[in-house]
């Protein structure tokens, strides 16, 4: 098991956002987490790499608990792609990708740049390698941020609503890159309502509601015959399946 998430609890003040969430991801799998907003999906992702430390529960990567050793070292294995990209404003696209390998992995300048160009190639952004983030569209910025994640050669990439800050016409290019990664065998845990990606690239859909996992299963099964009324309602609201909600 590549990623094990066990019994994560998180509370903000009196609101319990996560009420004991467990899930596993096998190497090469991609799983998509869906559910109504405010249901703890993003919090769960942030708890997994301890950007938000959970109140309770464990996260294991390749069987090693991520807080047991050097958290920074463990985070290299868990790349994170943010909803609003968070590219580094002062660095050109290629340097956004190279800065991690250079400063964290200690690569020399030339090797880091070569690696960065290869990763930009993977996301179709080589032509804009010398552009600053402010000179790129949202979709392009998100593709660069995916390249930045790839350059750390992580075991898993966590995607936190990677397309929801994008104009509708720009989501396609990002989804295409993500599909390609999934078919290349990258292990991915994705919070997203992108039905196209979920249908074609996900091995499993996890449906969350009210801080719990309500149900999970292969996309064809979950979309065609959801077990819970809440799932049905949600799917029909985002325009998918849910025979009669």
């Amino acid at each position: 098991m590549l990623l094990q998430v066990e019994n994560i609890h998180k509370r903000y003040g009196t609101a319990e956002v996560l009420k004991g969430v467990s899930l596993n991801v096998v190497a090469g799998q991609s799983k998509v987490i869906m559910g109504p907003s405010g249901t703890g999906k993003s919090t769960l992702l942030r708890c997994i790499n301890h950007l938000t430390p959970p109140d309770q529960g464990r996260v294991l990567v390749e069987g090693v608990e991520i807080t047991s050793a050097n958290l920074n070292k463990m985070r290299e294995k868990l790349a994170f792609v943010f909803q609003d990209f968070n590219l580094f404003t002062h660095l050109r696209a290629v340097d956004n990708v190279a800065v991690g390998p250079r400063k964290i992995r200690g690569m020399n300048k030339v090797a880091a740049r070569d690696l960065a160009m290869r990763e930009l190639e993977r996301v179709g952004m080589v032509e804009r390698a010398e552009a600053y983030p402010a000179e790129l569209s949202g979709g392009q910025q998100q593709r660069v941020s995916i390249a930045r994640a790839l350059a750390m050669e992580p075991k898993v990439i966590l995607f936190d609503e990677p397309t929801s800050a994008l104009d509708p016409e720009l989501t396609g290019e990002v989804v295409a890159v993500m599909k390609q990664l999934a078919s290349d065998g990258m292990t991915m845990l994705v919070v997203s309502h992108e039905i196209g990606f979920a249908r074609q690239a996900a091995d499993e859909i996890i449906f969350m509601d009210g801080g719990h996992i309500l149900e999970q299963g292969p996309p064809e099964q979950l979309f065609a015959s959801p077990q819970h009324e809440r799932t049905r309602q949600f799917l029909s609201r985002i325009g998918e399946g849910g025979a009669g909600a």
Partner: protein, 219 residues
């Protein structure tokens, strides 16, 4: 006018011997101010309660009292408890500590203006807090702080004239000396003002050039 030029030609060389002193005071004080200022900004942003409190008290004390008083205290007050500085050193310390309190606030504001998400992205990649600040936040904050820092640099360049009060032989002290020798105070202080105008104008130009050179779209 020709009298003024003659006066200038005669006394300018003597006054300008104070130029290296003025510039030395200024450069050393600004360097101390930048270094301490960054540390103070760090302390106020990321320090625990004790460190935050100490840094805040420092900033308030140095911003809330006149620089001349600080300088006199360091030069005349500290010897009473056995700490003795020559006038130049005392002036550098006073101006440096004073400007560090102001620079700290400029640095703090600039650091806070960088979107938090970028530090989170750095941490998520596996950077330590220090690496994130060093490689991601600081390069951006330093660019953003240049306009305010330029104002502060020009202000401090003028403030070096206070050092004349403790006997540092910088531009103002030398001009005053010429004044008392010639009793041509009008001419000598006009001349001195001209020298300061050229200095501050040059520094402003250089810093503006630096700002343009380091500019990045979107920052």
């Amino acid at each position: 006018m020709s009298e003024f030029l003659e006066f200038g030609a005669e006394h300018l060389p003597y006054i300008l011997e104070g130029l290296p002193i003025t510039l030395g005071l200024w450069a050393l004080a600004m360097a101390i101010g930048a270094l301490f200022g960054l540390l103070l900004a760090w302390a106020r942003l990321y320090g625990n309660k004790l460190i935050y409190g100490a840094a805040t008290a420092y900033v308030e004390i140095f911003r809330g009292t006149p620089m001349l008083v600080q300088m006199l205290f360091i030069y005349l007050g500290l010897p009473e408890i056995g700490i003795v500085f020559d006038p130049f050193t005392a002036a550098v310390i006073a101006i440096g500590l004073n400007t560090s309190a102001y620079q700290a606030e400029y640095f703090r504001g600039a650091i806070r203006s960088i979107p938090r998400g970028q530090l989170q992205a750095a941490r998520a990649m596996g950077m330590s807090q220090f690496q994130g600040l060093r490689w991601i936040i600081l390069p951006q904050a330093l660019r953003r702080v240049i306009p305010q820092w330029s104002n502060e640099a020009i202000l401090e360049l003028k403030y070096t004239s206070i050092a004349y009060a403790i006997g540092v032989s910088e531009l103002t002290a030398r001009a005053e000396k010429i004044g008392y020798e010639t009793f041509m105070f009008f001419e000598v202080f006009m001349l001195l003002a001209l020298i300061y105008i050229v200095l501050t104008g040059t520094v402003a130009q250089i810093l503006q050039f630096l700002e343009k050179r380091t500019a990045i779209p979107g920052l």
